[in-house]
Structure formats: structure tokens, C-alpha cells
Point group: D2
Chain length 457, copies 4
């Protein structure tokens, strides 16, 4: 256990910790070794009799992880001591089979392909949580299609919007991430297999055949060539999850701002021991949002690491490749943790519609000045209308009165607009423009998405 | 002019500097204003008579850029003072039309859509250079399909590869970037149009109609909803160009390593005044590679900025959006500059095939030990073969002789392998495995790409 | 002009743009060339007669900057074409003197030392603004030593603090940055002078003498050795300014949060055309804070670039050095721009003490629960006190009453605490603990700082 | 165990893993709790009798770490469930004492101060390894003061230098890091103690007294004020270690370049199982350098995270603070791991002086052209000399002859320079300028450093 594991329940998920845990990491490499033996036997490269003894020992539970960790330092990677341990165990059962362990492969073949298998599992988990979050946001947007609230720009009240529009726009970004995640799989999740210098020379003229059989065994696409120092595949995973984390961070920023004591429009779901404070009974801490925002602070630097690491030397790199080992899993875990937190926060988000309505009145009608100006403008011209409304706003501010009252008492205004007109114009619910249409357009996009499948626009 | 412009010929291209120059930046915003007037007149929102006076003044040459720059500080963005200048000029020609300038739009609508138009131009330029580079690499890979050279791992000689394989793998990564660039256009290059709070409220019930007409006028897709604080569109451009820059950096790292005085396998094209030194006549500085590597050092941090900026507040953000303004063009220019440099470096790359061949002998045959072991192994078993070859290698190193000679004089070896066999086994050209097949597979992928068109796998 | 210059009034200062502008950049390099001629003549390396003709032409106004920019691409840096232009101009006046231009120096000597001279100017400007900001914050802290406001944790109301404490803590961080800025000068601002490979070989045995004379002429410390590929000096400037920007970002975040419509405790200074909106009269946009936050988003990635660039090759690097050229000035300008914005924001910050007082009541007394518990605890034990107060808080929330009223009507409480006690305990001004002492301690540190001078702890 | 622990022997040290391991992390927080009880009892805030029961249970071995980890998620930090466990254990022994656990402190007080204690240990370890590395480099520089080798710029042969100079410059950067590390301690390693909102209000008028006693107990400086959201202290640690890692990366880059098969000037210490390859007997992989370079790729992005996290909200932040928890220890461990690797690499670095000498001849004398030009110039003028030497160089290259031979056969040259002069001028050992002086100056700086002690310039 590391200190970071003490807090990992905040920043990752149990399932994702399993995917990237030491046992799974080792098991996925061993899965590659077993598949390699099968593929090479099928192609006549190694004896068929070697397959079973090798495959039977490709079991992480038989591996001494502590010894592995100790040996990794001198070897410079994990595959060398793992293959050594595996070979020893196979040899105890079948000395001949042991000669064919890891035949023709290089350490990076096994480490990269093992990581591909881990990423495949990880992306499945992420897709599932993202689906749930999207569905929840779609319901939220639909339910609050007509819930009027203040729109805020520059962190100041601007004009009315609907909470449905806000939720729909949160969703809108996530739908594009779903596209990106679907599209990257065929690029990112490819077999790595090239042997010591990327030519599979030790397999003679059987290299491509073995590669194809290995890819088929692992249900991975066979790439055109090895990609030992072409790292765009893994980096794309990092960037797409980096963007997803950024979009989640945006939602968390909004929710935490709306949870502020003075705003009070939203609240994270409450639960015993969650976000409360015994000495400060009024507090409802946004612990879920805090975890998401933490991920959004951490991930950009980690993505930069992946990009910086792409500049790799020759056929096998010095530093750039090794920099991926911890960085990519960290990105995936942070993204998955943030996604889970947001799924749960939005899943039972407390929406205070009354407070949203009340906050619209915080400026005593000033947010509706534009609506009045537009209405007045059609009668008396835009410039004159602008002048009258500006004067009324100044009066309202100086005298701490509601703009509605000032307008009604303004002779120039009331000559054109009746009290009912003014009431109507000052009603924020009547000034939400295309909000409903935008919500519907986003929901339509959400529905168009083929369930559980990749799709293109 | 800024100091960075003094060196911009290294790190950008003239065409790209035009795309992102102040005049183009302003013109693209004005293009949006003109299109907006047309769209709104077509939808009956503003009078048809206002269109011509507005459109006629949407010309960057009429704008006082210095005044614009001075005013931007207090306004907080460029659109406010630009609209002010535009309105004044329109008013001089037609006071009535001037009322309808920028009608219903918000600053960010104009700034973001202007940037989209700039990015469209930029991506066209990048696609063209990338096409050329890919074609050149394809030719290089084909031409050197059988040029044997040493493969290097850990920056040490490993086993033979071909220079064709190396070039094919450089190409392989770029082909995936072409896919990504094709796929992101429909996501990234979308109209931004939402008005002050993203509802287009001031357009009454005409919001969507105007948005659709505006999108059509600018030949941009109409997005489901405004994306003022959903910044994945622009961030995707940043990440894909970031990855492309990384891949170019990898090529530059390889070439600069192969250009080292002691290695001498490659050289950048020479030209008068390029990369030479009057006091050091032997130098052939990799100035193109240096520029590419510079971009590869700079872009990751800039991409991190884009990702960090995604966490934006409410309907219009404080800091995150503004952080994009310079960062995204910097990424695009650095990527385009690196691409141009690499296009030119590879376009006339000097390949010293003889030196490649000579360098294969640097270890006096030790790189062929694996080939000998495999051949011997089929006769005497792998363990025994390994033992014999290891002994021969040690002897070769200790006595500074060529492994070939040692093997021929080794009685245990020469009992199984004749002198001709040994010569053949020690010949690196016979040990390149699937290199040729990998080259062909990559070239096939390159050909499959529809010319001048986007494509999907 | 670049597009980024259109908005540079937001993100830099005029003075700083001058320091890093092309003319200053070239002039500082020419200052080095002139000083070099003087130093070498003084040491007998070049003829005394060469000095005046060289020095007289070391004037940026005589340099054709456009030609310089065009030539930089092929040369790979700015010094080569600059020396060429300078030499040509000197040659027109004195052919013999022209032979001694740039004698024994390498491009990087001139570029790095020129940058050191620019940085010295830049740090002077930053120190001045930082001094002013610190003084202003000190006055603010002193003036509001007893202005009670709500302390917020997790973006939720927590317990009372004073605005003086908040301002003092803003100041506290800046005082440490002053220390760091003072300490880095002697490390960062050193002469760079090593010649083509860092040995000054072409100066024979006069290398160190010339270096010492050159350092003295430029009033720079003479370092132990050249530092062409030891880049910690410049990177330290980047990191310290990066931290300063982060601290300014923290202040901007706080101010912008306190400027929210619902909070209204602070406002940026108002000015015509600054932060207002004609259609939204109620808005007071935090344009200064936005600029600071923009810098805080951008600078971390740029600092990462400087750190990543430190891994440089041999005696002169490929990419890492060139990556500094634009990045370091960007960091300095962004930091200086943020500092100026914050200096101006804080310089006339509008503090709404009444609103701070009013916001303390937003939870109807719940924020004072801890104070009541502590008081009650001394009488009836902490556990019992906790229990009673918790019950009262729940009642207050459920019945929407003020905690004061609930407590007064609670028989168990009123048995121990009189109405006056309760009033006193519910008064936030009585529960600010060591806030005053902390303010005084920070102000004391501020005063201890030697005025206008560097200092060590 | 996490997957990253499997490879941690490459990237960290055992000692550092202990410092930041879960047990140490918890123990350091408990150390703060124990010290707090003592300080509060000494100040009369809590009963003296509570001290022993509390302090006796401040033992990480008594803490259920798994339960802690499970509870951390809902709490949002580690201190809340830790205090709960501690309180329960104390209560079992002494119910009354249990009431005084964590009295008046807030979670962040304990977490931050615990981290300060961990950092103090970590910096001690780093100082020790850095001392050793500096001493080793000093010896290396002294030993190779006159070992001539080629200086390389742009990754091309430039002019002769000495290996002593190279080592001295590696050392030079590290000496400045020592300064920085010494200077940051007093700033970075400060007590954190402010209570729930930073006022210590619950301690009444005893806040400062308790803080002072607590600081004294922990042997930490008492800061002017709490720094819950002023994060420059920890960020400075990150930046200085980030710079140190960059400098180490520079050394690793150089060594790995010099270890290339074609260069062969240096080699990492060999050891059984270290950096070798059974199938490629000629390989000597730079596994130590690879680990250092990995750290140098990873740390910049992590430092950016620390800087980005500085923008924190109000009195306790949402995301920025939490982002430090794993990031800062990662930076420290990566730096410490890189330092240990470099200490070991340099500690037994294999220097092939003969190969350095031989490589000087790779350009057949061209690297000495400058020396000849300078010598000839004093006789016939610099322009004429330049012309003659340039012609000779061209001839040498075209005819693949050594420049020495060409010069001797050139009548114009041999008229001025005898064969012995030419031999002398072509000897690289005679053209190392101030290299020796630079080495001595750096060594002098190294000696000036007070042994085992912090120091100021």
C-alpha cells in the first residue's frame, strides 16, 4: 500500500484499481505470453507440446510480486524478471517447454500489449459510467426544460436561462467524448509485436503469421507495423480522457458554485458522514465536486507528460516510454474516479427550483432590462428605448427599488407599456429564447446514439 | 512586431502567420458580423436594407488596429471595441443600418466563430503539408525497403533493420494523425452562436432560424447548442496537433541522432547559409530538426493549458476561455512550423547508405549473435547453441576480433557450420525478418487513403 | 503586430512589452557586443581602435529587423544574422574594426547575456509593482483588521474571520515571493561567455580576463563557468514568477468569488468602459481578475516547458534551449501583466463592509454553533453541550428560524445561558480568535523588509 | 501494492518510499496530534491528564489503514477518519482524554503539518545523496581536468573541451540547487495551524500561544499566519526539486549520448543482470540514465500541477489542495530516485579516455581549423588566413585526407607554418582555452560550501 492508496477511494474506483493493480498488470502480461505460445504453436514456430505447460503457468497468482519488484530495478523493466520467473516455473514442470517461453518477443511487446488489454477493460468501465451519466443528464435536462434560473457570465448575473439548458450543455460535451472514445479504440487498442528490433527476425519468415494469430487470439487488431516508438496510440487515450476530465471539471465547477451558501441552487446528494461537519452543522460540503476538480487540476500536467514522452529514440526509447508506465494509468484512474463521482453527484442531485427562481430577483429586475428595451424599441426606436431603460435602471439602483416599480412610475415608459406589459416583460420565464429548442436538439443527439456501440456524427 | 516574430521563420510558416495575424483575426470576426447581418435579414430579424452597409464595412483594412488594441484592455475582449469601431463606420454611411450591427450576438459568438474560420484555414494548410510529408516518407520507405542499417534500442546497437522500415514507421504514426485530423473537423469547426447568455433570447422565436442561416452562410455545421463554456472542440484541435507535433519530434530526434558526427547516416538538405559554420567547416547542423524538437518541447505545456482551461464557470468563463486566445494559435503555428520543417528536411534528406552499412560492423559482428544462435540451435539445441555463441562473443570482444573469424576458428561451431554458412549468418542483410512485409503493409495503408479527402478506418 | 498583441494590454504591461520587444531584444544583444569589444580591447585581445567603430554601431535602430527575421530561419538563431548585419555596418565605417566584431564569442553567449539584461530590467519592473501591491495590501489588512466577514471552506460558509486576515494572508504569500525574487538575482542574472565550445579557446590564455572585464562592464556577476546547457538559472526565474502568478491567481479567485451578484462583498474599481455592459446594466465584470486568472491558467504549462527544456545535449542543445526563447518572456509578461492588474484592482478595491456583515447572517446563526457549544461545554460538559446545540440547529433549520431565537426558547440552554449571553455568543465579531494577532504578525514581517532592497531571511 | 510499486525500485528509493508510505504518512499526522495535546496542555487549554492517553495512542501501528482508506472517500480527507479512529482508541483507555483529541485543529492543520514533517525527512535524504553526487563529480572533474575530448554543439563535433570541464559544469548546476534547497527550508517547512477557518477561534485567546508551543514541540518555525490556501511553500519544494531533476536529466542525456555504440566514451557501471542482454551480448544499456530521463520527462507536468493548484478558494480550497496530496510526493520520489540513480551511475562511471581521444580524430583534423586560422591570421591577416584554411578544409574533405597532411602540402600555408607548427596546431590538447580555469573555479565553489550545513550566498 502507498499513501496515495489511502485516499484512492476519492480519486479512483474499486474496479479501476483492480484493472491497474499489480496482479492485473502481471496477469495481462501473462495473458500475452500464453497467447504467444498458442499462436507460435499454431504457426509451427514452437512445438505444440510447449503450449499447455506455458499457458498453465501464465497465472499471476503463481508470481512472486515482491521478487518481481526487487528485480525490476536492475533489469530496467518488468517483463524481464517476469519472463524469468515464468520460465523457471514452466521449467519445473517441463524443461523443454520452458525454452519456448516468450519466444521471439521483446519486453516491450509484452508490456505494451498487456497495457492494451488493461486499457480495453478500463475503457469498458468508463463507457458504462459515461452512459449512465449521459442518461441521467438527459433526464435532468428534460425535467428542467422550463426551470428558469439566472444565467451567469463573468461570474455575474446576466440573463435568464433554464436549468434544462445548463444540463443539456453539460451533456452536449459528453456526447462528443463518447464519439471520441468510440473512435479511438480501433487506433489505440492494437497488438504490439515486433521482437527485439521490430523486425520479428528471430521468427524467420513466420513473423507476420504469428503476429496475425496472436492478434486474433487476443481479439486485437493487427497493426500495419510495430509501434514501439510511435506512441500516438496511448497518447490519444490520454488526451481524450484528459478532455473528458476537463468537461467533468466544468460540471463540478458549476455545481460547486451553485452550492455556495449564498446561492443554494443545487446540493450534492447527502449521506451519513458525507460532506457534513459536526461543528459546523450548516455545511454541505461538495465532496464529490472536490474530487472531480482535483482530477481536473491533475490530469492536464499528466497529459503533457504523455505528449512530451512521444519524442522517443530509434527503435526503443530511453525515458519517454518508461514515463508512460505510471502516467497513463494515473490519467485513466483519475478520469474514471471523476466520472464515477460525477455520476453519483448528478444521479441524486438536489435541485432547489424555488431558490433558482428567487435568485433571479437578486438584481431587482435589472436582468430584464434588455427585454424591456427590445419591446420598447419596436415602438419608439432602439436608441430612445435604450435611453429610457438605462435611466430607469439607474433610478432603480440608486433608490434600491425594483425595476418593475420604477418603470411603472416612469411616465415616458408607461405611455407605451401598460402595467401588465411591464409585468410580463419583467418575468424571466418569458425570456428564455431558444433554450427549449437547444435542449431538444441535444436530447435528440443523445437519442441518436446507438446504444452500446460506436458511432459517427 | 514582437521579439518572437524575429525568430518566427524558424517556428511557423508565412502562410500560418497570415492565418493568425491581426488582420486575419479581425477579418474573420468581421466575416461573422457580415454573415450575421445577411442571416438576420433573410430571417426577417433586421431590415434587408441594413445588410449592404454593414457587410461593406466588414473589412479589416478599415479598422484601426492600434486603437483596437488599446481599447481591448478595459473591455476584456476584442469584440467589444471591434463592434464599436464597425458600428461607427457603418453609422457614417447609414445611421439606420448601424443599429443592426452585431444584433443579438455576444462577443464570444464572434470571437469563437472567427477562430473557427481561422482554424479551418489552418487545418487546410496543415493537411496539405502533411500530405506532402506522407507521400515523401512513402517514397523514402519504398526506396529503402532493402537498405539495411542497425536498429538501436536503449540508444545502443541492437539488431539489423532497414531504413525503409524506419521511414515506414515514421509514416505509420502520421497516417493515424491524418485520420484524427479528418475526424475532428466536424466536431471542432462548428458555429458558435448563443447571444448574451446562450439562449438567443433577444431574437425572440427566430433564434434557431438565424443560427441555421448563419451556419449555412459560413459553411459551418450548426451545433446542437452553443458551447461557450464547453471547450472540448478547440481542445481537441490542440491535442491532435499536439500529438502530431510529438510524432514529428520523434522523427527529428531520430534524424538528429543519425546525423551525429560519429554516426553520419543521414543529413539534412544543405543550402547556402543553412546549418553551416564558418569557423567549424565540418559542421552540418540539424537546424530543421532543432526547430521541430523545439516545437515538441513547447507544445505539451501549451496543450496542458488548453486542458486546464476547460474548467469554465457557468455560461461564460473567467480565465479559462481567455487562456485559449494565444495558446491555441501558438500550438497550431508551432505544429505547422514543425511540419513544414520536417517536410523540407525529409524532402531532400541525404541518406548515406554506405555509412549505414559500415555502422552495422561497429560491433564486429556481435549484433548477429542471435542469428547464429538460432541457426546453431536447430542442430545442437538452443541451450548448447547459446553457450557456444556466448563464448565466441566473449572471445571476440576480449581479442578485438570479428565474431565471424572467431566462429570460423571455433572447432565446436565449425563442426556444424561451414565458413559459407557463417558468412551468410553474419550478413545483416539476411536478418531483417518481416521488415519488408511491415513496409508494404504501411504503404498499403497510405495508398488506401482517399486523396485529398477525409476518411475513416 | 501579431494577433496576440491585439489583446496584450490585458495580459502584459507597456513597459514589459518594451523590455521584450524586438528593438530591446536586439539592443540588449548589441549592448553585449559593444561591451565585448571594450573588454577585449582592455585585455589586449583586439586593438583599442576597433572599439569605437564597433560600439558606435551597436544600435538597434541601425538594424534591419525584417531582414534579421528572414535570415534567422536558415541560421537557426538570431545572433548569426545580427552579427552579420553589424559587421557589415562596422565595415562600411572601418574595415579593420569589422574583423573584431563578436570576437571569440558564440551566438549563445550573446543571446543568453542579452536575455539576462532584459530579465534584469523586467525584474526591476516586477519588484516595483510588487512593492506597491504589498504596501496596498498591508494598508488594506490594517484598515480591515476588525472587519468581520464569513470565512468559507469548501466554498461553504464556515466560521467568522476578518477581511483584514484575508488581506494579510494574501500579503503573506507575496512577501515570500519578494524573498525569492531577491535571492534569485545573484544566481539567475549571470554573464554567459564561453565561446564556441565553452572553453574560450580562441582567446588563448586571456579567456578569463576578458570574461571578467565583460562581466564588470555589464555589471553582471562572473559565473564559475559557462552555463550554455545548464539552464537552472533561467528556469528559476520562470518558477518563481510562476509561483507569484499562482499567488496572484488565488487573490483573483477570492475577489471574483466575493464579487458574485449573490455575494457582493467586493468590487473591482469601476471606470468608464471597464467591465460594464450596456445591455446588462447591473453587471460589474471582474475584468482585472479575469486577466489575472488567465495568466494563472497559462503560466503552469509554460513553466513545465522550461523544466522540460532543461534536458539539453552536450555543449549546446537541440530544442531545449530554443524552447526558452519565447517561453520565458511569455512567463515574465504574463506575470507582470497579472501583477499590474492586481495592483490596480487592489489599489482601489471597493469593500462593502455592510454586505460582509449581512452575509454572516445567511445561515441564521448556524455558523456560531461552535461558539455556543464551547461556552456551554464548560458548564455541562462538551458532549452534552454538543448534543443540545445540535438539536437546536436542527430545529432552527427545520423551522427556518434564527438559531438565536431557538436557543433562547430552549429550556435546557436558557437554564445555563441568559439571553444576553446568547446574544453575545451569536455575535460573529466576538469569535475571530487570533485573526488580529495574525494580521499584526504579517504586517510586522512586511515592515521588517528593507525598503527597495533585496534581503535574506 | 499498486502496479507502480512493481517498478518503484527504478524510480524511487527504499528510504523515500518509507518516508511517503502509508504508515509514515499516518504516523506523521499522529505526531502532530500528540504534539498538539502536549502544547495545549502546556498552555492550559486542555487538562494535563489528557496528554499521556492521547500521545500513547498516536501510533500508526494501532491504526486500521484499510478502514481509514475506506472512510476517506466520504469524508473528503484522511484526517477526519484518522481522528475518529484515534479518538475511539483513546476513549477505550480514558474517556475524558478522548474529548481533547485534535482539540481546536482542523483537518488541514494535521495533513499539512504531517506533510511538512515528511518533507523534512525527504529533504534530509536528498541532501545526503546530492552531497555524495557533488563530491563524486568534483573528483571526476579534478581527475579529468586534462582529459581532452570533443565538445559537441547541435549534436555535431565542434571544438575540443575536457571531460573535466563537462563534469565541472554538471557539478556547477547542482551547487546552485544545493543553495536553493538550503534556502527553501525556512520557507517551506513551517507549522500549519489555524483551526476551522484559520483564526484558532476555538482556542479563545490562547491561539498564538498554542501555535508557538506546537511549533517548538515539532521543531518547526512558527509562520506569521496560517497558509491553508497560500500554497507557495509546498510549490517551492516542487519547483526546486523539479529543477534538480532537470539538471540530472541533462547529465543523463549526456552520458547516454556518450554511451552510444558509435561513441563509446562512457559506460554506466556494470553489474550482473544490469543493463545487459543475453541475446545481444554487445549491449550495455544505460538503465540508470533511462530512469533519470524518465523522471525528467515526468516531473515538469507534475510541477505544472502544483502551480495550477495554487489558485485556491477562500479559506480552504476545492481541488487545488487535494491535487497536491499525491503530486508532491511523486515529485519528491521521482527526484530522489533520479538522484540516487545518478549518484550510482557517476559513482562508478567508466570513462574511456582513449576513445575520447580517438573520437577527436573523427573529422580528420577539421575541428582544429579555427586554431590554424587564428595562428595564421596573426601573420597574414584574418581574412587571408580564413580563406587559406577554408580551401584546405575543402580539399581535405573532398580527398578524404587529414587536414594536417593537406596543410603541410599547401604551399601558401607551409610558407608560414612549419610542419611542427602544424602538428602542434592540429593537436586538440593544445586548444582547450580556459577549460582548466573553469574547472578550478567550479571546484573552488564546491569547496566553499560549508560541509553538511545549509548556507546562503
Amino acid at each position: 500500500m502507498t499513501a496515495s492508496q489511502l485516499t484512492s477511494s476519492m480519486f479512483s474506483t474499486d474496479a479501476m484499481q483492480s484493472v491497474f493493480g499489480p496482479a492485473a498488470c502481471v496477469q495481462r502480461m501473462l495473458d500475452v505470453e500464453a497467447a504467444l505460445a498458442r499462436a507460435e504453436a499454431a504457426c509451427g514456430v514452437i512445438p505444440e507440446a510447449a503450449v499447455q505447460p506455458i499457458a498453465a503457468h501464465c497465472n499471476a497468482q503463481q508470481i512472486d510480486l515482491d521478487a518481481l519488484a526487487r528485480a525490476a530495478g536492475a533489469s530496467g523493466n518488468l517483463a524481464i524478471p517476469l519472463v524469468k520467473q515464468l520460465t523457471q516455473r514452466v521449467a519445473q514442470a517441463d524443461a523443454d517447454a520452458a525454452k519456448y517461453v516468450h519466444w521471439g518477443a521483446t519486453s516491450q511487446d509484452v508490456i505494451d500489449t498487456g497495457m492494451v488489454l488493461q486499457l480495453r477493460d478500463a475503457l469498458d468501465l468508463i463507457d458504462a459510467d459515461l452512459d449512465t451519466l449521459c442518461d441521467t443528464l438527459a433526464k435532468l435536462a428534460a425535467a428542467h426544460r422550463d426551470t428558469v434560473m439566472i444565467g451567469r457570465t463573468w461570474m455575474q448575473h446576466a440573463l435568464p436561462i433554464t436549468f434544462g439548458l445548463k444540463a443539456a450543455e453539460w451533456l452536449d460535451g459528453l456526447l462528443r467524448h463518447r464519439q471520441r472514445l468510440a473512435a479511438l479504440r480501433s487506433r489505440a487498442l492494437a497488438l504490439q509485436f515486433g521482437g527485439a528490433a521490430g523486425t520479428l527476425a528471430s521468427l524467420g519468415n513466420k513473423g507476420i503469421d504469428v503476429a496475425a494469430a496472436l492478434a486474433a487470439d487476443l481479439a486485437l487488431p493487427l497493426p500495419a507495423a510495430p509501434w514501439h516508438t510511435q506512441r500516438d496510440r496511448f497518447t490519444e487515450v490520454a488526451t481524450v480522457l484528459g478532455m473528458l476530465t476537463g468537461s467533468l471539471g466544468k460540471i463540478a465547477r458549476d455545481i460547486s458554485l451553485q452550492m455556495q451558501t449564498e446561492v443554494g441552487e443545487l446540493a450534492e446528494p447527502s449521506a451519513p458522514g458525507r460532506g457534513g461537519s459536526s461543528t459546523m452543522p450548516h455545511k454541505r460540503n461538495p465532496v464529490g465536486c472536490a474530487a472531480v476538480l482535483t482530477a481536473a487540476v491533475r490530469v492536464p500536467g499528466l497529459v503533457a507528460t504523455m505528449l512530451a514522452g512521444m519524442v522517443q529514440e530509434h527503435e526503443r526509447a530511453l525515458g519517454g516510454w518508461q514515463a508512460e508506465w505510471d502516467t497513463l494509468p494515473e490519467i485513466v484512474e483519475l478520469c474514471a474516479g471523476a466520472l464515477r463521482q460525477m455520476r453519483d453527484v448528478v444521479g441524486d442531485l438536489q435541485v432547489d427550483v424555488a431558490r433558482m427562481r428567487a435568485n433571479l430577483e437578486a438584481t431587482h429586475g435589472l436582468i430584464m432590462a434588455e427585454a424591456v428595451t427590445l419591446a420598447l424599441g419596436s415602438a419608439i426606436g432602439r436608441m430612445e428605448a435604450h435611453h429610457l431603460v438605462e435611466r430607469a435602471c439607474r433610478t432603480a439602483v440608486d433608490s434600491s427599488r425594483h425595476l418593475r416599480d420604477v418603470l411603472k412610475q416612469d411616465r415616458d415608459v408607461s405611455a407605451r407599456l401598460g402595467a401588465q406589459d411591464i409585468d410580463r416583460l419583467l418575468d424571466p420565464t418569458g425570456y428564455t429564447g431558444a433554450a427549449r429548442a437547444f435542449v431538444d436538439r441535444v436530447l435528440e443527439q443523445h437519442l441518436r446514439r446507438p446504444a452500446g456501440d460506436s458511432y459517427q456524427e
